[in-house]
């Protein structure tokens, strides 16, 4: 299982042009390989480019230079349309700000990704979404609006939404950033268990060393490069 490679980054750089015409180098040569079932944590100070890296991993953004492969295909040459289809089918996102669709119930939020599916996934979206919400312990809150849910509950809705199409990779950008320590830990355990169960790879970006410690592998992003991190945590 571990040898099925999903994502591979080789010397990936990302730079942006600032308004004053100077170039800002955010990522300077990232090498990373993600295989099925991997649980990876990436830590780093604010502004080091963690979100930028995650966006590239999630096919939301493209490297400036370097090589990015998705299951052996050159992802830098994918059409926007193909990338969107891969995102829909194989990638799930969890954000720090939950990013639930306002005005829609928890159930509608979890159904939303299935609107971009075809076949049985599309037609059975209500059942699938209900099951996904039950799995995160929100079977009783199907018709609740996001603003009536607590932060932890909202993030659990977001997790259900990220997992409802059974993605191969789940990308979480500071999933506990807006939660208190205990709630954050519970949410993280849920995310961890759910991805273990579905066999999806999980890449978590975090400030929190304790959160990072839950992953099997840890990296630190510093000055645009990724270095393996060995944690001596007491927990």
């Amino acid at each position: 299982m571990r040898d099925t490679q999903l994502l591979k980054l080789e010397s990936v750089t990302r730079s942006v042009l600032l308004p004053d015409d100077s170039e800002l180098h955010i990522l300077n040569g990232i090498n990373l390989s993600v295989s099925e079932g991997d649980h990876i944590a990436i830590v780093g100070r604010s502004g080091t480019g963690k979100s930028t890296l995650l966006n590239i991993l999630g096919l939301l953004d493209r490297p400036t230079t370097g090589h990015l492969a998705w299951r052996g295909i050159d992802a830098t040459k994918l059409s926007a349309r193909r990338a969107a289809h891969i995102r829909g089918r194989d990638l799930g996102f969890v954000f720090q700000q939950f990013n639930l669709l306002p005005g829609r119930t928890a159930l509608e939020n979890v159904m939303a990704p299935l609107m971009y599916a075809t076949g049985a996934d599309f037609w059975r979206r209500k059942t699938l979404a209900t099951e996904a919400l039950e799995k995160v312990g929100l079977g009783a809150r199907l018709d609740s609006m996001p603003q009536t849910l607590s932060g932890g509950e909202q993030q659990r809705v977001a997790i259900a939404r990220a997992l409802v199409r059974r993605p191969r990779v789940v990308l979480a950008d500071e999933p506990t950033g807006a939660l208190d320590v205990a709630t954050g830990r519970a949410v993280m355990e849920l995310l961890d268990a759910a991805t273990v169960e579905s066999g999806a790879a999980l890449i978590t970006i975090t400030h929190d060393i304790n959160v990072a410690a839950m992953a099997r592998e840890q990296f630190q992003l510093d000055e645009g490069t990724l270095k393996p991190l060995t944690l001596e945590v007491t927990s």
Binding site: G58, A80, A84, R87, G88, N99, L101, M115, W123
Partner: protein
């Protein structure tokens, strides 16, 4: 196969997404659509009203003779300035119409000096002496009973057809036909039978009555001979003028000593339908301006709210929405909304146009029978609203489709 399925589910999902979006923003959608509803209602009403008015006016105009109507007059010395109504002319007209294969031809003469009596009521209607074809020529038909037939000339009592005015004055209705009435000509009272009634009210205050020439000749001519007559023909519009020329020439040959004139004289020859077209144009123009203003405010609201929704678009893109899908969903939102608004507008228009009180207020005439709502106008209303929705949806849809995901989801 797979791409077809994707297209199909994509289409359905876009509609669902559009509907959800509209449901969430009910109030804003409602307000921004008021303009569209009003515009579509007035546009549809203008089109439908014009078409109903046209229909009613055409009916009214055609009662003075359907195109092409040729009037023939024969003058002789004895009849002074009036076209003669004597047997020779009638005979010559009959022969000539047969010769020219004219299907619808009728003598028309107005009798005077008589009264109509029924159960103590006495009225003074206009009595028209005409052949059976008169009904076809003037788009008349009996609403109750039946129209005159050639055989009615042999009836034991004179057969007459009355109009709605006469029927009301004499207190006759559907169930009382055929009814017996008295006709008093210069003191001599003849009992006549009313065999039918039209729905028209075109005559004077006391209405109109029709009778066959043979009937008049047999019962009334001795006391009050007809003084004048015209002879009408309803012919195909093509070559009608040419026919009139040949026809009068032939009549002249049949009637030595007479001067014969035949000319086309239906409403098309005097442009009776011009006003109507102007009315429809003006009403349509005003509605068009309202529609333009309505769409602009719709576009404005859509653009403003699009800015607030960029984040939402980014989120959707993150779970697989293609740019095409985002574009289509936002476009559909606009189309679904305006289609609903337009549908309501059309319903309002139907309520207005099929309401006799309102219609009579505008047309200033007494219509008793409401014409059905023109389907074409309703369809036009719906199509226009969908078109407006598509046009005003394109811009916000373009904005939405061009959203860069990374920018949209950054906090």
């Amino acid at each position: 196969m797979k791409s077809m399925a994707r297209l199909f589910t994509g289409f359905i999902a876009s509609l669902l997404e559009a509907w959800q979006e509209l449901r969430i923003h009910k109030l804003r959608v409602l307000l921004s659509l008021v303009g569209v509803t009003i515009a579509v209602a007035s546009l549809t009403t203008a089109v439908a009203g014009a078409s109903v008015a046209q229909q009613l006016m055409t009916e009214q105009l055609e009662r003075s003779g359907r195109p092409a109507l040729i009037n023939t007059y024969a003058f002789n010395q004895r009849s002074d300035d009036l076209p003669a109504a004597d047997a020779a002319v009638t005979e010559a007209f009959k022969k000539t119409t047969e010769r020219f294969d004219v299907e619808y031809a009728s003598m028309v003469s107005r009798a005077s000096g008589y009264r109509m009596l029924h159960q103590g009521t006495s009225i003074d209607p206009e009595l028209l002496v005409a052949d059976p074809a008169y009904a076809s020529i003037h788009r008349l038909f009996a609403q109750y009973g039946r129209w005159l037939e050639a055989e009615d000339a042999q009836n034991l009592a004179p057969a007459v057809v009355i109009d709605r005015t006469v029927a009301q004055k004499l207190g006759l209705d559907e169930n009382s036909l055929p009814a017996s009435v008295d006709i008093d000509v210069a003191g001599q009272v003849v009992s006549a039978t009313v065999i039918g009634a039209t729905s028209t009210r075109d005559g004077g205050l006391d209405g109109q009555v029709w009778m066959l020439p043979q009937t008049y000749e047999h019962w009334f001519a001795a006391k009050a001979p007809l003084t004048d007559a015209t002879y009408e023909m309803w012919v195909p519009v093509e070559n009608a003028e040419e026919l009139a020329v040949h026809f009068s020439a032939q009549m002249r040959a049949e009637l030595p000593g007479y001067q014969v004139e035949a000319m086309r004289s239906d409403y098309l020859t005097w442009g009776g339908d011009e006003n109507l077209r102007m009315l429809a144009l003006v009403a349509g123009g005003i509605a068009g301006i309202i529609l333009l203003l309505g769409s602009l405010s719709l576009l404005n609201v859509a653009m403003v709210t699009m800015k607030q929704r960029i984040r939402e678009v980014g989120i959707r893109r993150s779970f697989g929405a293609t740019t095409g899908r985002v574009f289509f969903s936002v476009l559909m939102e606009s189309v679904v909304a305006t289609a609903v608004a337009g549908g309501i507008g059309v319903l309002i228009s139907v309520a207005v146009v099929t309401n006799p009180k309102i219609l009579n207020m505008f047309l200033g005439s007494g219509i008793d029978q409401m014409p059905p709502f023109p389907v074409g106008a309703a369809l036009a209303g719906i199509l226009i609203s969908i078109g407006v929705g598509a046009l005003t949806g394109v811009l916000p849809a373009l904005v939405a489709a061009r959203v860069k995901i990374v920018d949209a989801i950054r906090v």
